[in-house]
Symmetry: C2
């Protein structure tokens, strides 16, 4: 996606360099929550801040090492888990067997996955959540969270309305093989 802008930041970020490169948005959040800020965390935070898609750990690792090679996958896993626990990140499962991440408070939104290309379109739906909350209440529950993904196929010709705000390239969501726990719903 914005791999370009990420890579162009290439220089300082980690080290003992001149210009103090201002902290990324997520790095700032980390500091606020009192996390010890190491070089690798700063890099990962920057990658996450710059990401406009929903990268999986492998992709985060790739982008992070492009900025600073002394980062291991283990650290990416640990950091991503930490940030999720701190409420800074949110984990997603679009099928395909790997967790994918995006910063919290991108505003409440849902995802529509193009089953042919794996592209992810975000959309909002104000009423939806309220509706589900009501349903949960009717069943005697407080709604704590909800998960919803739509899987669709681009309708061919005729020009249709505007698309969502963010694209995404990582592997298609369909079930090729090796997709342990994915694709729920029926034929809709």
């Amino acid at each position: 996606m914005n791999a370009r802008s990420i890579v162009s930041e290439d220089a300082p970020v980690h080290g003992t360099s001149a210009t103090p490169v201002q902290e990324s948005r997520i790095a700032r959040l980390c500091v606020e929550r009192g996390l010890k800020m190491t070089g690798q965390r700063r890099v990962i935070a920057r990658v996450l801040s710059d990401a406009e898609d929903h990268p999986d750990v492998e992709e985060l690792y790739r982008r992070a090492t492009a900025l600073d090679s002394r980062i291991s996958v283990a650290t990416v896993y640990r950091t991503v888990r930490l940030l999720e626990e701190k409420g800074i990140l949110e984990r997603r499962d679009f099928g395909g067997g790997r967790a994918r991440y995006e910063a919290s408070e991108h505003g409440r939104h849902y995802h529509l996955i193009d089953i042919d290309t794996g592209k992810v379109i975000e959309f909002e739906d104000e009423e939806h959540e309220a509706l589900m909350r009501r349903i949960a209440e009717r069943l005697g529950f407080d709604l704590i969270s909800l998960r919803m993904e739509l899987f669709g196929r681009r309708v061919p010709a005729q020009e249709s309305a505007s698309a969502g705000k963010a694209g995404d390239k990582a592997g298609a969501a369909g079930r090729e093989r090796k997709a342990p726990a994915a694709l729920g719903g029926g034929k809709a």
Copy 2:
């Protein structure tokens, strides 16, 4: 759930026995689709037919071997995949990192997972799908399938309305540890 009724069927099922034990509903579906009916498939089919919950492979394996010990996990995996491809079964992901299964055409319904107990309540919502289809269309997509799970917590006192139709005991859906790709949505 109905482990009792499953176990009580114990006798024939597999073999060269007297009373021809009538085929389970799913076994019948298998025959209709031209699947070769082996002893183990018949057992697995029966377990699935009798299940009123959403067992994972481990649980299916446990129940199946209780009926007939000469079944391996590999076979359960293979069978479950086969049945899913044939549209007889549907795979679910309630978080917790293992796929869970239920027979197709239980009618269209959704799931509310009790985050404290892992219990799964089913509920219907006629409009919901139509609403999502409209949203997808607005984005230029045909809705192929959709996935939605609510995660909630039982509201304490006051007697509230009726619960759903099916309970479920297998491991809580929450994120204790070791849950690779699960729990999506935000704080709702």
